[in-house]
Each structure stands twice: as C-alpha cells, then as structure tokens.
C-alpha cells in the first residue's frame, strides 16, 4: 500500500517477509533476467567440486532486489532516489529472509518530501545478510 508523506513519522518501521524457503529456481530466474550467469549461483557441481562452497548461493543483487520491495511497495519504484547496501553474509537455498526499513529522517528538498531509511535484511537465524540505506520521495 502506498504511503503518503502525512502518514509517515521518524522511527516508523516497515517490515516484510521477502521469501520463505528460497528456491534454487529463483536463483536461475534471477540469473536469466539480470544476465549474471556466474555458476556460483546455478551450478552445484561447480560450487562443491571446483569453488569450495557447499552449494549454490544467491546473488547479492537478488537479495538487494527482494529487499528493495520493502521500499518500492510503500513509496513506488519511481520515487526511489537512493538505495545502497553492503552484503554481509551469503544467502542460501532454503533460507527465510525478512526485510526491514526504519525511518531515520523526513526532510524537504526542492519542494519534495524525502524519507531517509536504514535498511536491514536478516535470515532465519537472525544473521544480518544485507545492511544499507534508501531515500524515497513520499507523495503528498
């Protein structure tokens, strides 16, 4: 649901379940659309026998893309001004991910209301897999 500027306060927290039991097929879908065909994300044999990982793991950009929905579902993708993250832990098939945005500031700039947020995504163990920030324009 779209939020209007008048509905938002500093400290508001928006939280969504991004995915439950992440499927390998979703990694394949993301490879196909993004163009990142790194076998680390689709090729279990390569991961285990050549790369030294227990299996395929998610593209950081898939986690960032899923997390972005916490912001775009509320403000609209066309209103995102800034979005940046650090990838802090790998995401694996079977993981459950929860995304959270906390409103740090509400400010006026060039006649627009801008919302600054801190973004965090955690897995089912409570480990942070992504941390970052976003700024979105709130419609009046």
């Amino acid at each position: 649901m779209r939020l209007k500027a008048s509905q938002i306060s500093v400290g508001d927290t928006f939280e969504d379940i991004l995915v439950e039991d992440l499927k390998r097929t979703q990694l394949v879908m993301y490879s196909g659309t993004s163009g990142d065909y790194n076998p680390l994300h689709t090729d279990d044999i390569y991961c285990r026998e050549a790369a030294g990982y227990p299996g395929v793991f998610a593209h950081g950009m898939l986690t960032m893309g899923m997390t972005g929905r916490v912001v775009t579902d509320r403000f609209g993708a066309e209103n995102v001004k800034k979005y940046g993250v650090r990838f802090t832990n790998q995401v694996w098939p079977g993981d459950d991910l929860k995304g959270k945005a906390v409103v740090d500031a509400i400010r006026q700039e060039n006649g627009e209301t801008l919302i600054d947020m801190t973004i965090t995504t955690t897995n089912q163990k409570g480990d942070v897999v992504l941390s970052g920030y976003a700024t979105a324009r709130a419609e009046k």
């Binding site: 050549a50 950009m61 976003a134």
Partner: protein
C-alpha cells in the same frame, strides 16, 4: 566493460516484467506491455547488453562452470569472478520502459583488507553512469566487488 566503452541499454517492458518476477514481485501486469515501474536494482541488468560481460557463456570461449568436469577452466582461483561486496544506486529521475540509455563505466578505487573468514580481500569499485537520449544523467551505479584468497568460511 572497458573504461571508455559505451553500451546501449534499451529499457524494455517485458524485460522489466521478467526482472520483477525474478525478485519475487508479481504485482507487475502479466502482459508485459504496461509501463510498469522499474525496480531500483534493474540498472545492473545492463550486463545483458554488454558484449564483453564476463559472466555469460560465449561461443568458442572456455567457461568456468561444470560440464564433463566440475569446471571448464583449469587452475582458476576458487573464487573465480569474485563476490559482490557493496552496491549503490542514485537516481536523478526514474528509469522507465522506452528509455534507451547510454552506459559508461570507469574503475574507481581499489583497496585491500585482511579477513578471518576468507583471507586477503581485494576490493575494486566500478562506477556506471546511465544517460538518456538527451544526454541527461538518469542513474549512477557504484558497485564494489571483492576477490577472496579462499572461499568464505561457513560458520
């Protein structure tokens, strides 16, 4: 992408539809013909239009994924291609289907760090600028990749 190359990136509605599904967003109309909003991470899909992109199979070139053997390339470091450490996007205006963007890339800073879980880490920053047909800046994308000395230890 080399330092001076310019890539043409057509932002197409069906590509946006498929991209949105791949990040679990099924709110997009299935026809693919609507002017659906472009997710903020979509600019990275410019890789599809880069003729030299290193993470796509190319005819006649060795590929490090499995076939007859676990890897089609001998003696590659175990973390071939590196991992993505950071990603930042800044939008000067929304990207919309119908845009035909010109994308340039340059290499930014590089730095090193020691890590308990993966040995020596070498970070490289790459900055891409996306301009529209009028030459106006639409988006700046800054990615940081990391090459690890060994696979990241799992806890």
């Amino acid at each position: 992408m080399s330092d001076k190359k310019t890539i043409t990136f057509p932002v197409e509605a069906t590509h946006v539809m498929m991209f949105r599904r791949s990040i679990g967003d099924y709110a997009v109309p299935d026809t693919g013909l609507e002017k659906a909003a472009v997710p903020p991470t979509f600019p990275r899909a410019v890789a599809q239009f880069d003729p030299d992109y290193h993470l796509r199979l190319k005819p006649g070139e060795a590929w490090f994924g499995s076939g007859k053997k676990p890897s089609g390339v001998e003696g590659k470091p175990s973390s071939a291609g590196g991992l993505h450490a950071e990603q930042h996007f800044e939008f000067l205006r929304p990207m919309v289907p119908g845009d035909v963007l010109s994308v340039t890339e340059h290499v930014g800073k590089t730095w090193e760090k020691e890590s308990k879980r993966a040995g020596k880490l070498v970070f490289t920053e790459r900055v891409q600028e996306f301009r529209d047909q009028k030459g106006e800046l639409v988006c700046i994308s800054r990615g940081v990749s990391v090459r690890t000395e060994r696979p990241v230890d799992q806890k």
